[in-house]
């Protein structure tokens, strides 16, 4: 099937993106973000999980968490391209919430087919979820999972679980007698222990989750196939978040470069500042165009989805690294301080850069598809 010229990004999608932008502009400024998450600069601070539950409830009421849930499962059934528009705005606001995790779980559950229906109904009912797939080296290859299903329960630890403490459910990958399965597990179930990680990024929380005989619904007996189908959308949405955050970094730095004066000129007068900021813009635009292309492929050209999603995430990862670097550097001394907001996005972007594969990892996979495996 051929992709529609406009990425399938229609009127509804535009409206959703615009309303998300307006929502965050009105309810969640960067001042508020800083006040919320940056109260304690101590590097040895206890793991924290600061978020605005009330605002989150409003998002849930607006239906944003069930956008990707198919209509027949009680959701809205929006295309990935439209969802990417929303996620871009969440990234621009760096809004701490389990939206990405919930969307990720949704795409995996949709790929599970009928056995995933009950779990999708939970999401349609407003529950938040996240993926619990990775081993301690952060590999999400099912064969690497440290969680095992035996004696009617889950045992072992899932690592690098995103926004774990904001979620109601985990989608857990575990080895089974028959292979590798996916399990839908309540966060509060007996035998589930969250051990929060102390992380650099202030806009997320992260944990490793220990299972000691926890019960769950097996939503798939073939985790490999499910993840193969779902990962392109997951990479694409993370890249969309990074594009939004990158745009915040760009605009904030441009604003500073236009006002701060040295040597009788605003910083942006000097090409040593101007040209790198243009390069940041160019990289954001590349990543953004590739995000909507990948999203559209997820919707209409699934055989190309992995290829295009690798491109989007590789591009976004490199962009995030560069935009972050320039945002701090171009701010000069003040950019190096806790009180200047750029560090919030710097840290979020550095986290996103490596989450679900960094640039070199995605390019290596892309090469396997485009060139063929190396001899």
């Amino acid at each position: 099937m051929k992709q529609p010229n406009n990425y399938g990004f229609g009127e509804e999608a535009a409206l959703l993106k615009e309303s998300a932008r307006k929502f965050f502009r009105e309810h969640f400024t960067t001042d508020r973000l800083h006040a919320l998450v940056a109260a304690d600069p101590n590097p040895a601070r206890a793991p924290q999980c600061q978020w605005e539950r009330d605002l989150w409830s409003q998002l849930v009421d607006l239906g944003w968490t069930m956008l990707a849930v198919p209509e027949e499962a009680g959701g809205v059934g929006m295309p990935v391209a439209a969802v990417a528009g929303l996620v871009e705005e969440v990234g621009r606001a760096a809004f701490p919430c389990p939206l990405l995790g919930t969307l990720n779980a949704t795409y995996a559950l949709v790929a599970c087919g009928e056995p995933g229906a009950a779990a999708l109904a939970d999401i349609a009912a407003g529950e938040a979820a996240t993926l619990a797939l990775a081993d301690r080296s952060a590999s999400w290859d099912p064969t690497a999972t440290e969680v095992e299903y035996r004696d009617g329960g889950l045992h072992g630890t899932a690592w690098f679980v995103q926004d774990a403490r904001k979620c109601d459910k985990f989608l857990v990958c575990a080895s089974t007698a028959a292979g590798y399965g996916l399990f839908w597990v309540a966060a509060g179930a007996a035998g589930v222990t969250l051990e929060a990680d102390s992380i650099v990024d202030l806009t997320r929380d992260q944990a490793h989750v220990r299972f000691d005989g926890a019960q769950g619904i097996e939503v798939s007996t073939n985790a490999l196939a499910v993840l193969h189908t779902a990962m392109p959308a997951i990479w694409t949405l993370l890249a969309a978040d990074m594009v939004g955050a990158g745009e915040w970094q760009l605009q904030t730095t441009v604003e500073y470069a236009a006002t701060r004066k040295q040597f009788d000129h605003p910083l942006g007068f000097f090409q040593a500042i101007k040209h790198p900021l243009v390069e940041v813009m160019v990289q954001i635009d590349e990543a953004k165009s590739l995000v909507y292309n990948a999203a559209c492929a997820c919707d209409t050209e699934p055989q190309k989805a992995a290829q295009f999603a690798h491109m989007a995430k590789a591009s976004a990862s490199d962009m995030a690294a560069y935009a972050s670097s320039r945002s701090v550097q171009s701010h000069g001394g003040i950019g190096f301080t806790w009180e200047c907001y750029v560090h919030l996005y710097f840290k979020r972007q550095k986290h996103s850069q490596v989450l679900w594969g960094d640039g070199p990892w995605h390019r290596a996979r892309l090469a396997d598809i485009v060139i063929g495996n190396a001899a």
Binding site: Y7, V254, Q271, K274, V278, K288, L366, V370, I371
Partner: protein
């Protein structure tokens, strides 16, 4: 080794100030140029003449039918010689003859200059050039050789010349019998266009022109030149005036055209030296001192943003054209032995190839996204990146190909052992033409920083 005198001033200027330190809005985005570069990177998207036809007025629909019928029986056959990738690189009279014959027949049939009044040799139609262009592109006809004449000189002459001059010059411009060239750049006026020094001094009702224009594509075939001249040394912008001057008729009588040899060893553009060339005052366009404003008309139309749409043709597949794409470099890597396997097995090269592929796809997707308003923040943000990206991507693709070839990249086009006929080292060297011409990459970055990001103007 001594440096030719004419280039000494360039060198002096290069030494005197950082090349990147000049900016000039005149060079903002030159999509015609970008399009030529893009053509080699992405498969040219031919306009959907069918989709466009649905919006035709009755006149346009009738004209479209006429164009289609005419092209069906009059599209020229295969060229007898290899054609260059763009009209700006026409090197031989064989190439020119074939292309001029095509332009003449298209003009005689009414497909060129359709929207200009009959009195100046036009077709007297309304909004019909677009229709003819779509049909010519759809029919994959050859490109039109008088590209500077049609796209830049014609609208400038039409809006700013005297009536009798329009009637004198435009018919032979449209027919392609007179090739036109553009005299803007000088050794001391590159990115900073308004600092041109070639001087026109009044003498009775004549002007005496002295000076030096460079990088003049097509000057070796040109009858006429549009030229930006200084008529007053005390005002930078208001001291400029715009003329059309005869080139061919004045060869040896005040005009010298010399090919400039590119770093590749090829020719393609020229320098033009004026030594007391006498020009009649009627060839001055608009008022004295209005040269900069007239130049804006030229550049506006070059960008395709002017009132009069320029005739466009092209799309004929060139048998031996060399594709500057990442896919071509991947093929090259697969055929290049390296260690026990091929260069395509090398992890580092694979990473570089994929970086390149991603940039190339990104540019393609930028163009697609530029037509989705809901996904745009600033209307000029993507269009103004086109020329910068197209030229830099083409450069890095060629650079990567040379890296893949390794030691074999030392073999040039004259060596029978050269991989791909030595085209990659040639393309790599030629790519610097793209990143320098029509506003260097550095100037493009200034324009993006100032126009899109709103940063203060650099000097």
């Amino acid at each position: 080794m001594t440096i030719p005198r004419r280039l000494r001033s360039c060198r002096r200027i290069i030494k005197q100030r950082a090349m990147v330190n000049a900016t000039c809005d005149a060079w903002a985005n030159r999509p015609n140029f970008a399009a030529a570069v893009l053509h080699s990177i992405t498969e040219q998207e031919l306009p959907m003449s069918e989709a466009s036809a649905r919006k035709d007025t009755a006149d346009q629909a009738e004209f479209r039918r006429y164009c289609r019928d005419w092209l069906l029986s009059n599209k020229p056959g295969e060229p007898p010689v290899r054609l260059p990738q763009t009209p700006l690189e026409i090197m031989t009279t064989e190439q020119l003859n074939y292309l001029q014959a095509w332009q003449k027949s298209a003009y005689d049939a009414g497909l060129i200059g359709c929207d200009y009044p009959v009195a100046v040799g036009g077709g007297g139609r309304h909004n019909c050039q677009r229709v003819a262009n779509e049909e010519m592109l759809a029919a994959r006809t050859p490109f039109l050789p008088n590209v500077i004449g049609l796209g830049m000189a014609a609208p400038t002459v039409f809006y700013h010349a005297r009536e009798e001059v329009k009637a004198e010059l435009l018919p032979r411009l449209f027919s392609g019998e007179d090739i036109w060239c553009q005299g803007f750049s000088e050794p001391g006026a590159g990115s900073d266009l308004a600092s041109v020094q070639t001087f026109a001094e009044p003498r009775g009702d004549k002007w005496i022109i002295n000076g030096h224009k460079v990088w003049t594509s097509l000057a070796h075939f040109a009858e006429w030149m549009i030229i930006l001249l200084r008529t007053d040394k005390s005002h930078k912008y208001d001291g400029l005036s715009y003329f059309v001057v005869p080139i061919r008729a004045a060869l040896g009588k005040g005009v010298t055209v010399r090919p400039l040899i590119k770093i590749t060893g090829e020719t393609g553009f020229n320098e033009v030296i004026f030594d007391n060339l006498e020009v009649d005052d009627r060839y001055r366009l608009d008022e004295l001192g209005k040269g900069w404003q007239v130049a804006m008309t030229t550049l506006l139309h070059e960008r395709g943003a002017g009132e009069l749409q320029g005739p466009r043709s092209g799309g004929m597949k060139n048998r031996s054209s060399h594709n500057i794409t990442t896919a071509a470099v991947i093929d090259l890597a697969k055929q290049t032995p390296r260690a026990a396997g091929t260069a395509a097995d090398d992890a580092l090269l694979r990473d570089k190839l994929m970086r390149q592929l991603i940039r190339e796809e990104g540019l393609k997707q930028n163009q697609r996204r530029s037509r989705v308003p809901a996904l745009l923040d600033h209307p000029m943000r993507l269009p103004l990146q086109n020329k910068l990206l197209a030229s830099e991507i083409a450069q890095s693709i060629s650079s990567l190909a040379v890296e893949v070839e390794g030691m074999a990249s030392s073999l040039y086009t004259g060596d029978s052992n050269a991989p791909a006929g030595g085209q990659w080292p040639l393309s790599y060297m030629n790519s610097y033409g793209m990143t320098i011409a029509a506003g260097t990459s550095e100037v493009q970055r200034n324009i993006l920083g100032e126009r899109v990001l709103g940063l203060p103007k650099s000097k």
